[in-house]
Amino acid sequence: MIALFIIGLALHGLNLILPALLRDSRRLNIACNLLNAGALLCGLIFSLSALLAYQRVEYRFAVPSTGSVVIGFDGLSLFFLLTFQLLSLAASLYAIGYLPHYIERGLSVRGHLWFFTLLIVSLQLVAVVQNALVFLVVWEFMALGAYFSIVFERTKEQVRRGGFWYLVATHACVLLLYVCFLVLHEVTGSWNFDDFARHAAYEPKTLALVLLTGFAGFGIKAGFMPFHVWLPNAHPAAPAHVSGLLSAINIKAGIYGIARLMMILPAQEAAYGWGLLAVSLISAVLGVWYALAQHDIKKLLAYHSVENIGIIGLGLSVAWLGRCYALPELVVLGFAGALLHTLNHAIFKGLLFFGAGNVYLHAHGGNIEKMGGFARVIPLTAVGFLVGAISICGLPPFNGFVSEFIIYKSFFRAADLLHGYAPLLLLFAAVGLAFMGGLAVACFTKLYGIVFLGQNRAGVAARRQGEPGSSSIVLLGLASLCAIIGIFPDTSLRLVGPALGELTGADQTAAEWVSPIGQLQIVFLLFLALTVVIYGVKVWLQGRTVVRLAETWGCGYTAVTPRMQYTASGFAAELVQLGRPMLDFAVQWTPLQSVLPVARAFHSHCHDRMENGWLLLNRGIGRLLGALRWIQSGDIRHYVLYVFAAVGFYLLCALVW
């Protein structure tokens, strides 16, 4: 089976040479993406079959500088490999339909596609490499590939700024990972993950350092709250197929890192679990609250990625608590919830970003206040986006509900098994999750209602007609995936089985706790049956009476214009103002001066307090460094003075030390 994976990598390799051969952008786009799709298909078949008929396989080869490099396909790696390949396949196919729009505007696609392929290849390698040093190398390739894919339309200042945010965040993450892996290497003497796992005797101080720097490093990449700031700047800057890829699976590399650290390191300290729980809850609730206040689709979806990362974090923290108190059931439920939500989030977030891409093609800019009525212009995208919106809010028939259900179940089981304050804290976490579900419903009804339903608020026809063929197929494919996993949960549970087996060491116990969730399909099928029956009754009844169209009821006001529809900021105004301490909600409007109506403007913008915090830190560093700028004064006499001063200072130190 490994042959398929190698064929996949070979095809990707060929793709890296292709941009040099083909000159014409249009043909290159199709050829390159199709080749990528083919390679990913082989990889997907490999990982699916490896997961279903699972046994741990690893290949070891020696390199002088990094010791023996291990490429291992264990349960966790295969699951993440599957997720990465699935969404890369969707992104490549989507790019075929989406990139011609840019090619018409004269943007050269050769460099972009090269880095896009590099990103896809390095993502797959990140999931399978088990050697820390090679992991860092491949991690940096992923960062480079992602950066150059983001700055595709680099003529825009906002795109360059977003790319810069991304690069700085990735470098900070890498520096933290240096510390984490170096300390581990120092203690165990080798670079391989399984040697880290085999070495049991970590004293608490080094374990604390490793865990903190590891969680912080991978947390920056995943986008947990204090470090999420680069996400809403980088993802909107990228073209839709790249931002879909980034949001769906690139931040999941951070989650893979944290999961891998959890598997390797012994869990003694429960405080980390509670800390991760707190950070995840804050990320989830504030993430969706910030999303509610956004006017740009991609920025809204980016903040939602922060929310879903928070939900995954909740699952992981319950798993960590399970490991601390040696309760395998909690570990299984927590990890199953987290991993499943990773897969589900990857699917519906990719779906939503690709939908947003289609909307961008037809809209005149990104601001949703000027959109509306796109359901008639791009119906297939509207259906896909609706499925994505329902599943991201975690509503029943689709896959969001399944993973949130498992996380709720892990909360309640944890409340049973743990005592002391634990049940209370976990109840608060469950209520936080429910509260955030309510906010998500508000946010996505606003987005879907404003963008797709009603009439176009700017009263202007869409920029172009018709949907790009291949991208709508991708959307419907992802939407059907959401439905299948949602209605038949046991399909995805069997994918998670091997990873859970390795975690708790016993294969069948994992199934016994998780598989009952698989039988939910009876409930969902019953619900769908009920809906079909009632719809049948409705059609039959309306068939026997007259159905006609008329103007919307305007309460007697005759001159109704599309601009009178409810706006996005109006829809979310109160909720956003309720979050005022966290959300810096700024409103600029010209107050009423005279009796007679005069042209007035209203502009509301929601700043992210944490982003302001980081920018303040940046200015602080600038001022601090600025204070030392007198050294290079240009006058030679000062330089001579420095020489004598240095000698004097060192002689003084000689006397002291």
Binding site: F412, P423, G449, T531, Q542, V547, A572, L575
Partner: protein, 310 residues
């Protein structure tokens, strides 16, 4: 794990439940009329309304899309399916551990589609209603989780079918827990089912409505579905409040049914009384009203766990 009740009586009870929903609304209107000195319409008036609407023609707005045609069906089905989960004397029609979460999220799905249907007709009034509905729903969810959720954690049972079985009147602490639970559920009823303190059900001024304005443009069988769903939701939440007192568990099925009906009527009377005596809250105060419901829920669970531990 998923148990479809084999006992035909529980499916019959569900059917009865769907049929009796408009009756409860009728009773509330009747009591309200009586309190304000009017004779008021017959208790069966809502049934006549539904039959009339089923026969009338359906008018769709020009700017409405497929959402307006699908939404009424989905709204009704989600609430109907939620009703299947409730134990009415017999074991619940559908039950599995964790169906509390399904119950809450089904109602959320119904709300999702109702808001979208409101936004679909491109009218500013419906948009206003949708925005208010979305805002209050955010604060209604925590109340549900604090009452039923904390009950589940305390009794360590996570299916609606079994969570109420544990409640016994003899244990004084349990009684405090249950009464506070009923009170916060009462707040939930007024927020979710558009009852007086939050929303005036029979106002004609579109600017003040919340739930009515969302179905302003519905007509014909769609409107019938919406109205039946609304009354069904009212019966659903009242039953939840009634079941908190665990009538079937304590008094057995026959006497329990009587006590259950009595509590329903008592709740209906209380709602009617509030509607005649109180005016509607200002919209900005509603979140505080709901947060108060959540606060007593939190207080309730705190008292319970600390007392249980000592």
């Amino acid at each position: 794990m998923v148990k479809l009740s084999s006992d035909p009586l529980s499916w019959l009870m569900c059917a009865l439940f769907f049929a009796a929903a408009p009756l409860l609304t009728g009773i509330i209107n009747k009591v309200k009329a009586r309190l304000s000195g009017r004779f008021g319409p017959t208790v069966w008036q809502p049934y006549y309304e539904l039959l009339r609407l089923a026969r009338k023609e359906t008018v769709y707005s020009t700017s409405a899309g497929f959402i307006s045609r699908v939404a009424p069906v989905l709204v009704w089905c989600t609430i109907a399916f939620a009703a299947l989960l409730l134990p009415l004397g017999r074991p619940a029609a559908v039950s599995f551990p964790g169906d509390i979460i399904l119950f809450a999220y089904l109602l959320a799905l119904g709300r999702f589609f109702q808001i979208l249907a409101a936004l679909d007709v491109a009218s500013s009034f419906e948009g206003m209603g949708a925005s208010r509905e979305a805002r209050f729903a955010v604060f209604a969810e925590p109340i549900f989780f604090f009452t039923i959720g904390s009950l589940a954690i305390v009794t360590r049972r996570y299916s609606l079918d079994t969570v109420f079985a544990e409640i016994s009147w003899r244990d004084p602490l349990f009684f405090v827990f249950v009464s506070v639970g009923v009170l916060s559920l009462f707040f939930l009823v007024s927020a979710e089912c558009s009852r007086m303190p939050v929303d005036d059900p029979n106002t004609h001024l579109e600017l003040t409505m919340i739930h009515e304005v969302m179905i302003l443009d519905a007509s014909g069988f769609d409107l019938a579905l919406y109205q039946h769903a609304a009354s069904l939701k009212l019966l659903l939440y009242s039953t939840l409040a009634a079941l908190m007192l665990n009538p079937f568990g304590v008094f057995g099925p026959a006497v329990g049914a009587l006590v259950y009906l009595a509590t329903l009527l008592g709740l209906a009377a209380a709602l009617a009384a509030i509607e005649t005596l109180m005016a509607r809250f200002r919209l900005l105060l509603v979140p505080q009203f709901l947060l108060f419901g959540t606060a007593i829920g939190i207080l309730n669970i705190l008292i319970f766990t600390f007392s249980r531990q000592s």
